[in-house]
Subunit: 686 residues, 2 copies
């Protein structure tokens, strides 16, 4: 696993290093040299005696003991080389950039297995194979360009894909984003994205480590590990943003439940990111913009001041912030008037604060000072300052630089004149700053950051759920498939989910007696077939004995029917509650209003089990139909607390019953006396 | 108005030109000289005899006759200078860059008025004041930088704001976007955005004019003109994209109708852009990306092939395209296999077509050829090609260049290595190409383009609407306010909108007789007060004489009640139809499902009256609740054609009744026998 030798090796051997910098082995040596690597650097190349000024050994047998080896040789040659390095040269860290392994052929996969075996034997670490390598403050162990600027406060970047990592770095460079480390994990034979994150979490040192993590993930192999360590790092003060590519995979699984039909393979990823507190992005531009936001001072609230010398971009930015549910509060009253009196005629201070095109660097300083010290309803400032090319902007950007150092409130610089004021922007960036060149991209990304919840509590809400009973019920189930109504009732009861009273029989007298006892109107449903309603197996609003008898006679003739179930006809708002199981992720729990809300409008929200109350209330409140739950149009709402209780308890039940693959409680009816599950279907696979 | 002298002046005088290129007057002269202006160039400066190598006249009195004057002098001096130039020097085109006019003070506004009067007297044109100027293929009449590259096929760009125009150009430069003209209209004293567009439309020459228009608009002063000429240009083969800044103005007007509460000031803009076929953008980055898309070959369909040498960006792009309802069709079968056999092992052809990192320029050419000639289900190609820095990309980009020239299908180049392969990307752009550096930004923008409708038909659907009767009813209305039920009925009848049968009286016997005639159940509503339902003035589902009598007695005691109206109780899906009047834009017509759909879920769509059938069906079908209209969950749908008829006819009625400021038909009930308006409120202002 990750060790000191991988992060800060005292010596490195490049196996396959060469003089040709247009080949990976040559470029690797060049990058290490250009990066002023301070340890001992060796090269192994059978055909050369001198490689870029370094002595070249003809065989790995010949080199001294070395901490790290970077291999850029054909895949077939790697097995033996690793063996020698691991067993004879005490190498404790391997980076294998060579391709031709498991990503291409089965034989390649076997080579990987052998290599991993050797490396694990000696307790060494492995990055790759099939990657671009690893670079950080200590060394640039990659065969590619560009090499970004490194700084302890920069971004720790871990990527599933080397090529994509490069293109993400390209997008970061123009913003001035600096890095602390860049990890390309390739085939992740030993170390994957989750493992690097685990290392960063377990060894986190708040004084020295970067607090910004940026991830590009193609496949989440270990969701639990990602969730655990991402949440943990965020609780320790880190910020994490990530792309999970492949979010709209069209291939939907065949699903027999409502929930199954709604859930996509992306729901699990979305739910996991939200639970962990990871800011999810969908493009390189977004990802590097969010990471850039992370480099600035902590944002304490959603109230933004926009300071500008041009109206248009400020208005577009204000639009983007409002769309993202951030505030651009009005600034008025005596303090605003005082600020206005210090600016040129024509300036506006209502927010945006427009110091107008001829506004001076002093005006900029004044406007920032007022936002910092005088306006209480401002949490952060966005400063838009470009140039029509008449004068240089060094003075203005020096003001911005100083204020960004001094002010407690974060300042987001938007410097749009990247060509006309190119040198000034570059000089500003060289001082360690970020430039956001498009204000709307910034506004949208900031909204994404501020609308991402904190990591959810990891406590499981056990109250009200009889876990041993849940296990007993599940364990004694004989086979895969749908639970019987009786088993379903028992399971829901174990999680304290209230069920509508019901009685099942094939005897008409018993059914009539029950109906009279619970009082008409009642509902009758066939027992047996799965798709009851499709075959006329459900009769609502039965108001008298005659009506019930008529339905009894009709239903008992339907194919496969073994009996009739009678329930009271509940009146109230229909709700929906369901879950699907996603391999390795666990259960995604869905909630929403019933009927057309779930089936036509797809108005559901979801989260990863087990759910905390915070997560659950936020799920309920993010429904478009939430006003109906709260009560609207003269209608009383429903008991939101009880709905949340049921969702939380169901999620706890599921946490201990991975055998449940799909389930619906549909409808769950909110009556005057509380919520009752009226119908439920549960499918298990053992 | 716009004339030849404004667009291609044979001679220009810069009044206030100077030697100081850090001042507007000096920079203006420099830009004209740097732009190699071919006509006669004069400078007027009282203090100089030589300005940047040109003879300087001490007074405008001294210059020869000149076609265009660009003024960069204090606002107060402009009036007299314009007078001399217009009346004595035969100047026919003015660009006034000076500020200090109507945008600052009332006195400034009066100066503007005087100047406009003089200019109109001699039939000259005026750009400004308070602008950066005008630049095109013939001359660079601006005091600012950057100056983009000009080309007859470039973009015609018209901007309300000079500063914003510059920042938009900055964003265009990095993509390689070229311009045909840049207009900054400033205070738009004579010529505004709409007027320039009008000129371009009336004088459109398909052989010589650019077909790409890009607009930045802060205020739409003449919506009809914008709509008319934008649609007309698009019908002539142009493409238009625009930003209208200020889309989320929080200040919602007080509204007394449902529609009023839903409509925002942005609805009108959105409806107008859609009707015109303008692609709406919200950021500089989006705007210049859309304009860049317009420079490529015509996109004939929504089926995209992604050709790449790196998996990650291709997957992110595929996600973005799917989200935007474009297709990335599977490529398989013998042709796909054949293509695969021509690429390196490990390549994938399923779409994305991944020629892998080591893929050669020849592989790129092959993949493009297959998409162009062999795959029938591909309409366009997106090519992602960057570099890890080992080799130069000139060969690959030469392939791309040639294929973009040769292929009938459009090719979108995404060249992400803007730093590492910077020189190669620049050389590619120099050949006249665009580079989209972020694939997701491109994918999102392309979806925006392909999802924008064509301009709507301008025919007014008169069938079924008795326009003279509409006018008679409106004209005889005595005062502003809500129409009485009787007037409302007459008006809706004139548009052939079916109304539920009803009878109003204060005589209980008459009401009972009517109820018996139409058959119970019935509805009773008070006549008089506006907010009936708030005061218990509506009783539904009255099933017998006794019940009706009871309600009669109760209702007649409510304050302000003058009578009771009885209607049959209709059963069916509730629909909603409404409209608001937006100053200068006309009526925005809203449709949707009734009840919670409109009040809680705000699920409405809208368009600008008068509506065509295409627009109306597209409105109905874009409702989230549309499946209910179509029929879902075993429920029959509603008569969509009749709903469309009613919407179209209502929009025609409104077109001839601008006095109607707000109206709701709520509900409109879809019964077995057709749609009937059950309740309607109409407010007029004369």
């Amino acid at each position: 696993m990750v060790n000191r030798e991988l992060i800060c090796p005292q010596s490195i051997v490049v196996v396959g290093g060469s003089n040709n910098v247009h080949k990976p082995g040559g470029r690797l040596v060049r990058n290490l040299l250009d990066g002023k690597y301070k340890g001992s650097l060796y090269v192994v190349n059978a055909k050369e005696t001198d490689v870029q000024g370094l002595k070249s050994y003809h065989s790995v047998q010949d080199i001294p003991e070395t901490e790290m080896a970077i291999l850029s040789i054909p895949s077939k040659a790697c097995v033996e080389v690793v063996d020698v390095l691991a067993h004879q040269k005490n190498v404790k860290a391997f980076i294998i950039i060579s391709a031709g392994f498991g990503e291409e052929t089965k034989e390649g996969g076997q080579l990987e297995d052998q290599i991993l075996h050797t490396i694990n034997e000696v307790g060494a670490s492995l990055i790759g194979p099939n990657c671009i390598g690893l670079m950080n403050i200590h060394f640039h162990g990659v065969f590619t360009q560009p090499i970004p600027e490194f700084h302890p406060d920069g971004v720790d970047f871990i990527s599933s894909s080397g090529g994509t990592a490069l293109f993400i770095i390209e997008s970061a460079l123009s913003k001035g984003l600096r890095f602390s480390s860049v990890w390309s994990v390739g085939n992740s034979k030993q170390l994957g994205v989750e493992d690097i994150l685990e290392y960063m979490d377990r060894n986190f040192n708040a004084a020295t480590d970067s607090k910004i993590k940026m991830l590009y993930i193609e496949q989440i192999k270990d969701p639990d590990k990602l969730l655990y360590h991402a949440s943990s790092l965020i609780r320790k003060g880190c910020k994490i943003t990530a792309i999970k590519a492949g979010s709209t995979e069209s291939g939907k699984r065949a699903a027999s439940s409502h929930t199954g039909a709604i859930a996509s393979s992306d729901s699990a990823v979305e739910a996991l990111f939200r639970k962990a507190g990871i800011v999810r992005c969908y493009s390189r531009e977004e990802l590097t913009t969010v990471a850039s936001i992370f480099t600035l001072k902590e944002v304490k609230g959603k109230n933004c001041a926009i300071v500008t010398h041009a109206g248009g971009p400020a208005v577009m930015l204000a639009d983007a912030l409002s769309k993202g549910r951030l505030n651009v509060p009005d600034l008025n009253g005596p303090i605003a008037e005082e600020l206005k009196s210090k600016l040129y005629p024509g300036a506006a201070v209502g927010n945006p604060i427009d110091i107008i095109g001829t506004g001076t660097p002093e005006h900029l300083a004044t406007a920032i000072d007022y936002c910092e010290n005088r306006f209480d309803n401002i949490d952060l400032m966005m400063v838009i300052f470009g140039s029509p090319g008449l004068v240089k902007l060094y003075d203005a950007y020096e003001v911005l630089h100083k204020k960004m150092e001094e002010c407690r409130k974060p300042i987001f610089p938007v410097l749009p004149s990247i060509v006309t004021a190119g040198p000034e922007v570059q000089s500003f960036i060289k001082k360690g700053h970020i430039n956001f060149s498009d204000e709307v991209t910034l506004g949208t990304a900031l909204a994404r950051v501020l609308n991402t919840p904190k990591p959810a509590s990891t406590d499981i809400q056990l109250y009200g759920v009889d876990v041993p009973e849940v296990r007993r019920i599940i364990d004694r189930l004989p086979a895969d498939g749908y639970l019987s109504p009786e088993e379903t009732r028992l399971l829901l009861k174990a999680a304290n989910i209230p069920l509508v009273e019901e009685f099942t029989s094939s005897d008409k007298e018993e059914l009539l007696a029950f109906a009279r006892k619970i009082k008409y109107p009642v509902v009758a449903k066939v027992v047996g077939p799965v798709h009851k309603s499709d075959m006329g197996g459900v009769a609502l609003n039965i108001r008298c004995d005659e009506h019930l008898l008529f339905e009894y006679e009709r239903m008992m003739k339907l194919p496969g029917v073994t009996g009739i179930m009678v329930q009271p006809m509940l009146k109230g708002q229909e709700l929906f509650l369901g879950a699907t199981y996603e391999n390795k992720f666990g259960h995604i729990v869905f909630c929403g209003l019933g009927g057309i809300f779930v089936e036509v409008l797809k108005d559901v929200s979801y989260g990863l089990a087990p759910l905390s109350y915070d997560e659950t209330f936020s799920m309920i409140r993010s429904l478009r139909g939430y006003p109906i739950i709260k009560g609207t149009r003269g209608q009383k709402g429903i008991d939101e607390q009880q709905y949340a209780d049921l969702i939380v308890r169901l999620s706890t039940l599921l946490r201990f019953a991975n055998e449940i693959k799909e389930m619906d409680i549909n409808p769950l009816v909110a009556t005057e006396r509380g919520l009752f599950a009226v119908d439920a279907r549960i499918r298990i696979e053992k």
